[in-house]
């Protein structure tokens, strides 16, 4: 159980912003911080891990106090024993895949975990390669494996998929879900990709301007947004099929295929391979 309440004044390019959060996270929960860039997601992750200091607040993890600004308690990042996966991988270029993992071992820790992780992440053959020889997806997998070496109870993922293509993303998402279950992790993900949030998280916490604007299961949070009418996607038209008097249009949005009913005049304006805006209005999807 993570219980934290923090405030911090952030100086962003667009102006000052107050980060002000009071959040509880259950053990073994998979939580995503979702929101536009500059909403304080990454800063929150950095504060929880101990890389950044808040102005005021406390962080309690399983009745252990990690931070309490009033009583001047601040457990260092080294001692918080967490796993952290960075957006830019942050692999050590001077070490091979295996050496990157071995580096993470604690004094006197069993070395068995190294081979176990190399096997789970499919690195048995590549383990002696240096990071520069790897693709983006492989690098991020090494970073994930390295973050798990110390067997942390909490895993922080800071937009780990942002520089990967769709196929790599899906693969890495599966690795993360597997690790989350296998090692009984409490996982906190920062993301601004709805498909990712849907697929992975138990709960999504939407941050806007440094505050929680909404939270709940991905379905509850995002379907609310649909009704509000603000929600729209750009997709690619895959097929247009005539069915009785209407047309069924299959649209690829992110990595999901959505089927939308269209009238004849709407369908006439679309062509396969073209892009289309799918939005919701008065409880019905519209294509334009």
């Amino acid at each position: 159980m993570i219980d934290f309440q923090i405030t911090k004044k952030l100086h962003l390019a667009v102006g000052d912003m107050n980060l002000n959060l009071d959040i509880q996270i259950r053990e073994k929960e998979f939580v995503t911080f979702y929101g536009p860039s500059g909403s304080g997601k990454t800063t929150t992750l950095r504060i929880l891990s101990g890389l950044t200091q808040p102005d005021k607040g406390f962080i309690k993890v399983n009745n252990e106090v990690w931070l309490d600004t009033e009583n001047k308690i601040n457990v260092s990042v080294q001692q918080r024993k967490i796993g952290y996966v960075f957006q830019d991988y942050a692999l050590f270029p001077n070490m091979s895949i295996k050496e990157n993992l071995v580096f993470a071992l604690e004094k006197g820790q069993e070395k068995g975990i190294i081979n176990e992780l190399l096997e789970i992440m499919d690195f048995e053959k590549l383990q002696h390669l240096k990071p520069e020889k790897l693709s983006g997806g492989q690098k991020q997998r090494v970073a994930l494996a390295r973050a798990l070496v110390r067997k942390p109870k909490i895993l922080f993922l800071d937009e780990p998929f942002s520089s990967l293509d769709t196929e790599m993303r899906i693969k890495l998402q599966d690795y993360i879900i597997e690790a989350h279950r296998k090692y009984d992790l409490t996982t906190i993900l920062v993301s601004h990709d709805i498909s990712e949030v849907y697929k992975m998280s138990d709960r999504v916490i939407v941050l806007e301007n440094g505050c929680v604007s909404k939270q709940g299961s991905p379905a509850a949070v995002f379907s609310n947004r649909l009704v509000s009418g603000k929600f729209q996607f750009v997709g690619e038209v895959l097929t247009i099929e005539k069915e009785n008097i209407v047309y069924i249009v299959s649209v690829l949005i992110g990595n999901n295929v959505v089927q939308v009913i269209a009238m004849e005049e709407e369908a006439a304006a679309l062509k396969v391979g073209g892009s289309v805006l799918v939005c919701m209005s008065s409880n019905r999807f519209e294509l334009s």
């Binding site: 891990s49 890389l51 260092s76 990042v77 080294q78 001692q79 024993k81 967490i82 796993g83 952290y84 960075f86 957006q87 830019d88 942050a90 692999l91 050590f92 270029p93 001077n94 580096f103 993470a104 604690e106 520069e132 970073a143 390295r146 973050a147 070496v149 110390r150």
Partner: protein
């Protein structure tokens, strides 16, 4: 027969100076590249002074400071029985000050070139600052470390003004090659001066050439550095 003693003295001076500079310069440049204190610009300016000042100016003030007639020199003389004017230890201290920017600048640039996430990743893996510097940062800025070491070494070898001011020309004590060349020319021994100068010329070229070759290979292997 040409006396090779000045070469021995020069290389000894350059080696000791470089070792001291590396040991002192490494933590100092790490601190300088990460610190956010108010007077950082002042400190950076002081570190860079030897690049701009005529060596005779630096030598003159060091001479005053080290002189047993003055406070600092008197203090050393009375409590440590040490004299820094016209002695080899004095040359070492002067050289360390004189070549300081040549060690600090490359190292500072090296530390700055590494992404912050590299050290942060190491901290999240439970490693201390010192362990991170030794095992993660330094191995990933080899080119900067090499540049710092070689430039300090080469610059110390090329010293003249500072050495002349506070070392003079005492054979086997402070008479390094650059001074020896000057003396030989004064004494009209052009042949000896030529041999000294030629060796120094070739040596400096080879040192710099190898740095450029090695650095070129480093940057080919790691384009982002």
């Amino acid at each position: 027969m040409v006396d090779l003693e000045p070469f021995y003295l020069t290389i000894k001076l350059a080696l000791i100076t470089t070792i001291i500079l590396f040991v002192v310069g490494l933590p100092f440049s790490y601190w300088l590249s990460h610190s956010k204190i108010k007077f950082k610009s002042v400190i950076e300016a002081i570190v860079s002074l030897p690049l701009v000042l005529p060596p005779s100016v630096l030598g003159f003030y060091l001479l005053l400071a080290f002189s047993p007639q003055n406070v600092f020199g008197k203090f050393l003389d009375q409590y440590f029985d040490t004299r820094l004017v016209f002695t080899f230890p004095g040359l070492i201290i002067a050289s360390v000050i004189y070549s300081f920017p040549f060690m600090v600048h490359p190292l500072q640039a090296g530390f700055k070139s590494l992404p912050a996430s590299l050290s942060e990743a190491s901290y999240t893996l439970g490693k201390s600052k010192i362990e991170t510097i030794i095992r993660v940062l330094i191995p990933n800025m080899k080119a900067s470390v090499l540049t710092g070491i070689v430039l300090s070494f080469a610059h110390t070898i090329g010293e003249f003004g500072v050495v002349l001011m506070i070392g003079g020309s005492i054979p086997n004590e402070t008479r390094v090659v650059s001074i020896a060349i000057y003396d030989e020319v004064q004494a009209m021994n052009y042949h000896t001066a030529n041999v000294y100068a030629g060796i120094l010329f070739a040596f400096s070229f080879v040192v710099l050439l190898s740095v450029y070759i090695v650095n070129h290979n480093f940057s080919k292997a790691h384009p982002w550095r």
